[in-house]
Amino acid sequence: MNQFGTILKFELKGYLKNKVFVGITVFLMAVIAVVMFFPRIMGLFSQDEAQPDASGDRPVLLLATHSGQYDEGLLEAFEAAFPKYQVVMPKIDNPDDPELFRQEIEQGEAECAFMLDGLTDYTYYVKNIVMSDNNTAVADQVLQSLYQVHSLREAGISAEETEKILAAQISHTTESYGKDQIENFFYTYIMIFALYMVILLYGQMVATNVATEKSSRAMEVLITSAKPVSMMFGKVLASCLAGFIQLVCVFGSAFLFFRLNQADWGNNFLINSIFNMPLDLLLYMLLFFVLGFLMYAFMFGAIGSTASKLEDINTSVMPVTLLFIVGFIVVVTSMSGGSIDSPLMVVCSYIPFTSPMAMFTRIAMSTVPFYEVLLSVVILIGSVVGIGFLSAKIYRVGVLLYGTTPKLGAVLKQVWKA
């Protein structure tokens, strides 16, 4: 126990003093800060832009009718619908001239023009059609409601009633007895992705750490100074703690920055759904994160101990990495497909290699009976302990094998005998 504590402290210090580790954490926090302050920063810029508009220097929108007649309320309706424009009704001599507005628009005197042929048909003139141009959509609405008003009035319905009919709004509310998959999707996705990144990143780090000790021959002294079980558990728990500290820094700063800018985000659905994550889900996240992390870190550590050269690490860890990636893909595909409780996902939520992601996703996005969660967690804990001790045994055999990287079968055979 004493040795375990010493190893844990030493390894953790190694992570926290590592410039890359600190650098990545600070970088991520900075990125999150920029994202979180984005609406506030944008707010500063757009205020600057809005000022010349207010001084009356708005772009000109030309409005004309083919007949030369203007329906009552047309100008008012357009002015109300296009507050960014100064709506001008020019005198038209020849309404059939297709070059009618060319000069004004090309020279920038006007930005666009509408030539109405009645209330249900018009031509829109503009220099360049830009992506964000929704003027025609706005005009469609204006004209449609004008047309409706006119038609109703012609049918002898009073102005009051017309207004009432047209103003009728359909309201609805949704009551969900389970989970809101749309709202949960984003934070589940973020959590699963964080889990994925952290496990792969730290798994590699553990494997490299063990292989470095082996190739630098520090192992010769280590293995005679400490028990393999202490070594393995100390290393893996240190990396788990380091990963956890990193996650807390990143998510903690995200939360803090969000709080600082909550007003600026307003009703942004995505951001709000992420930060309104329920606490119990966060705790589940923590549980599955720790267990999943430990299990994979043990496997990566064991593999690291069998590699004789650092260069071999990448190929050696491939099977475990692939196993994990397959699990990730299954979970993410099921998430996007909405088939959270498909038989595949149910099976995956019991297999310890995939259950941290699969079960967490099911808990977050669906309704899972408690006994299922409990069963999955028990299987996972059992596997973590089992794999932990097995990896310590592999470690003891592996670290003393130099030369070519041994086959997994050969190592397991020796582990069995040892």
């Binding site: 004493n2 040795q3 010493t6 190893i7 030493f10 210090k13 190694g14 000790e213 630098s216 021959r217 520090a218 010769e220 002294v221 280590l222 293995i223 005679t224 100074s225 400490a226 003891r396 003393l400 055979k413 020796q414 005998k417 040892a418």
Partner: protein, 303 residues
Amino acid sequence: MQLELEKIHKNFGEKQVLTGISFSAQGGSAFGLLGRNGAGKTTTIRILMDVFPADSGQVLMDGKPIDYGKTGIGYLPEERGLYPKKKIIDQLTYFAELKGMKHTEAVKSIDYWLERLGMAEHRNKRLDTLSKGNQQKIQLITALAHNPQIVILDEPFSGLDPVNAMLLKDVVKEEISKGKIVLFSSHQMNYIEEFCDKIAILNAGQIVLQGDLHEIKRNYPRNKLLVRSPEISRILADKHFTDAAPLEGDSALITLASPGEKAQMMQNLAQQYDLDEVKVFEPSLNDIFVEYAGEHQKEENKA
């Protein structure tokens, strides 16, 4: 204090690595564990240090199975290496703490050893900034800092310059005089001869010779004559000396049928040839080693 290994057997898979190793080493003396590459020295050391268990046999300390919690062991492995990128004081403290020392006493002891080995100025440097010999001295501290009862040194002198070798010799002598059991493994026989009272020669997983080094030498058959003469080529051509082997520097080694012929042979030689020197050949440890470790190899090859 007595360390005993009793009938240690170890197989790796099908391969028999150790077949019945037994020896004992006393406190206050150095024990030389010799053997060619692959003879099983490192495996013996690892079993002794409980890195893995023996298939059968036991390790005893003063007659009782060794308690690794109480018996401190220091080890300088042949394959050297620590953490190249870490600060020297940090990693030395780490290793000492792993051996059960408290942080403050570890630092105190390490500072003593850094001073003793002339490495105090490197205390806060990274290991890889040091030369190979100095790195080796740092590694020696990992074997000594926790004041172990048993010190195992595997090729401690390789890579050291003469000044550092002298320093290490003094340190080893100090450790012996403190009553510790020092276990030596080396191919540099002169160092073994200098330190070790007892030796064991391992060959193919067995001890082929062991005992007190002086006794071994004394009991070595005294049936060889070392002859130095300007007429050495004539002596070698003489049919009377059928078993004469040439040596460097006008010398030859003449093997007698029995040690009893010694006086007669010396007389004959002196009468017939101009001799500079003739004496009974006393083997060096090197000769003994080559004979025992080498011969068995030959037998094995024949089989």
